[in-house]
Amino acid sequence: MKTMLQRNIRDRFMEGLLVLSTIIVLLPLIIIIAHVIIHGIGALNWDFFTQELGSPSRALQGRPTGLVHTILGTLVVDFMALTIALPVGLGAGIMLSEYPDHKLNPVLRVMNDTLNGMPAILKGLLAFVLIVKPMGTFSGFSGGVALSFVMLPIIARTTESALMSIPWSIREAGLAIGLPRWRVVLSTVMPAARFGLVTGTLIAFARAAGEAAPLLFTSFGNNYLPNHWLGMILGPVDTLPQRLYSLAISPYSHWHNMGWAAAIVLLVFVMLTFATARFFTRQKF
């Protein structure tokens, strides 16, 4: 028979192991964040948020240069993608969860998983064929469509599991008072699952916000703000993940620093998204 002391020691030991593995999980993230901040913080100044990039000679000659067009472009493309992906993704999720016997569902489930596992560059290619070629130009819109392909399967999946977590008794209560099925989903199940829905959507959003590959041949990139405000949607537009890459492979050290700064902005953007998700899941309605 083991003594109480032995049990305690063993318990402490296991706890220590868990803490250690948590630290190991967090360490890469902390190192990445620290590294990005150390390298990029120096390039974060007023110009960075107010000027356009222009040519490399701007940076070499110390003239003002920045990424205002990139930051705005990222917001426009990402929110456009969300606007496209949200209704469709929610619909697919509702279908999977609320109409489990529908004969389309097995196909839908397989297709959704395939889309989720597909390399992001292929989604960009699809948007290139569907939108860029017929339009005859690269555009923020095609970038939004490409990113919506990234968001779609995630939203569908998280919607399904959020709705599935709501007990059937809630639906039965609605049906018992004579509500039609769509009304039950819309007015009782979805409000009950709202935290899960919002979280899932924001996770999909943050995931897509970091993707560069689908944007290479859709939103394409731009060194300036478009000359016309619709240009953000109908013309080529810059985005943070893609600009970060092209700054990083450039031969100019000033551009490398701007690349690190762009990484900080992207990190903060993604972290803010997750913070928003946390905020929504905590709030009591």
Binding site: S57, L72, G136, N223, L225, H228, W229, L230, P236
Partner: protein, 386 residues
């Protein structure tokens, strides 16, 4: 859920309005440009993409042209490589492509068939490639000739004190250091120019290696990009590599002089590069002039071409006559006035022969059959004199 959706929509709308507001602020209050008012409807976005090498020049031109037109015309140039430039040009997703290799006959024929007009290759600037090296105690100015570079890159000449090197450099005391050959590992227009020179001077190289944007190197180590080659050369005593001239200048690398076809030792310079192209050019300028017959021309140089459709209306990326007109205006400016910017950015100027050929091609540019290029060139002072 509804709250979330409303907030999302609100944020989206807010950013949209900020972005358009900002665009207006950036351009608001600007005076009318040379071609008329600069109200929102008059503003034009031009789009080009392709070769990485001329990107610093083209984007600097874009900056300058934007100021010049009071923000009326914005040129967006993305460097995606020569191959990408040709590809997107053929896909008609860009108004012009940019390439360090001219379009092949096959591509030219395809375009002729699909658009009913030619594709023009218009020289915009020149690419020059210099041998760079790291020999302790020896600075700039080691002299090479084509045959020697071939033997080094074939692995036949392996030490810096080889008599073949000493013969060309009688005044230098070269060490018995082994030679480390460095080349590009990625596909590159620089490699195309370099290997085309080696192919021109040596039948052996032409048959065994040939020229392309990437080749099967007999010997040597690879470096990714100009910076990769530069890094390998600078960190390896005894190394030899090749870099674009502007890159060697910007990074204080030692580079050599090269003996040209006329037997003159040519030190790399912008003038010598321009001179290399001052030869009898074919009308479509699709020519490689490495090992140039020009007496004082630098032998390892080539054009960077702007690719453009003869029938501008056939290009899906150009949606109206105004865009075509502004594109031609920019093109004319870039090969004339804008060439002034070349040297300070590390590029050689276009020689007069190339300018002449470009003008002839611009005169044939059409929009729905209308000779748009010719009418825009009519009152250009330089075009009249050539």
């Amino acid at each position: 859920m509804y709250t979330n959706r409303i907030i999302t929509t609100a944020i989206f709308m807010a950013f949209l309005s900020i972005s358009c507001g900002n665009g207006d602020n950036g351009n608001g209050g600007s005076l009318p440009g040379s071609g008329g008012g600069s109200s929102a409807e008059n503003r034009i976005d031009l789009l080009g993409a392709g070769a990485t090498f001329p990107a610093p020049l083209i984007t600097a031109m874009a900056d300058e042209y934007r100021d010049l037109t009071n923000n009326r015309v914005t040129l967006n140039y993305q460097s995606i490589g020569s191959g990408g430039g040709i590809r997107q040009f053929m896909e008609q997703t860009v108004m012009f492509g940019m390439s360090e290799a001219f379009l092949s006959d096959e591509v030219m024929n395809n375009i002729q068939q699909s658009t009913g007009g030619r594709a023009f290759n218009m020289p915009i600037t020149l690419a020059d490639v210099v041998p760079t090296y790291n020999i302790p105690g020896i600075g700039e100015g080691v002299v090479f000739d084509g045959e020697l570079l071939v033997e080094i890159y074939m692995g036949d000449v392996t030490r810096w004190n080889d008599p073949k090197i000493a013969r060309l450099n009688p005044d230098l005391d070269l060490p018995g250091l082994p030679i480390t050959v460095v080349h590009r590992s990625d596909g590159s227009g620089t490699t195309n120019v370099w290997t085309s020179f080696l192919s021109r001077v040596s039948e052996r190289w032409r048959n065994r290696v040939g020229y392309a944007t990437s080749v099967n190197w007999p010997v040597g180590i690879g470096g990714n990009g100009n910076e990769g080659v530069a890094g390998a050369v600078q960190n390896t005593p005894g190394a030899i590599g090749y870099n674009s001239f502007t890159y060697a200048l910007l990074n204080d690398m030692s580079y050599g002089s090269v003996v040209n076809a006329s037997g003159n030792v040519i030190e790399p310079s912008f003038e010598a590069t321009s001179e290399a192209a001052n030869i009898d050019l074919p009308e479509d300028t699709r020519v490689l002039f490495t090992n140039t017959p020009a007496e004082y021309g630098y032998p390892i140089a080539g054009f960077a071409w702007m690719l453009i459709y003869e029938n501008l209306d056939a290009n899906n990326a150009i949606s109206n006559r105004r865009e075509a007109e502004e594109l031609i205006r920019f093109l004319i400016w870039s090969i004339t006035d804008a060439q002034e910017m070349s040297e300070s950015l590390g590029f050689a100027r276009l020689p007069e022969t190339a300018l002449e050929r470009n003008f002839a091609m611009i005169r044939q540019l059409k929009w729905n059959g209308e000779l748009l290029g010719a009418s825009l060139l009519e009152d250009h002072p330089l075009a009249a004199s050539l």
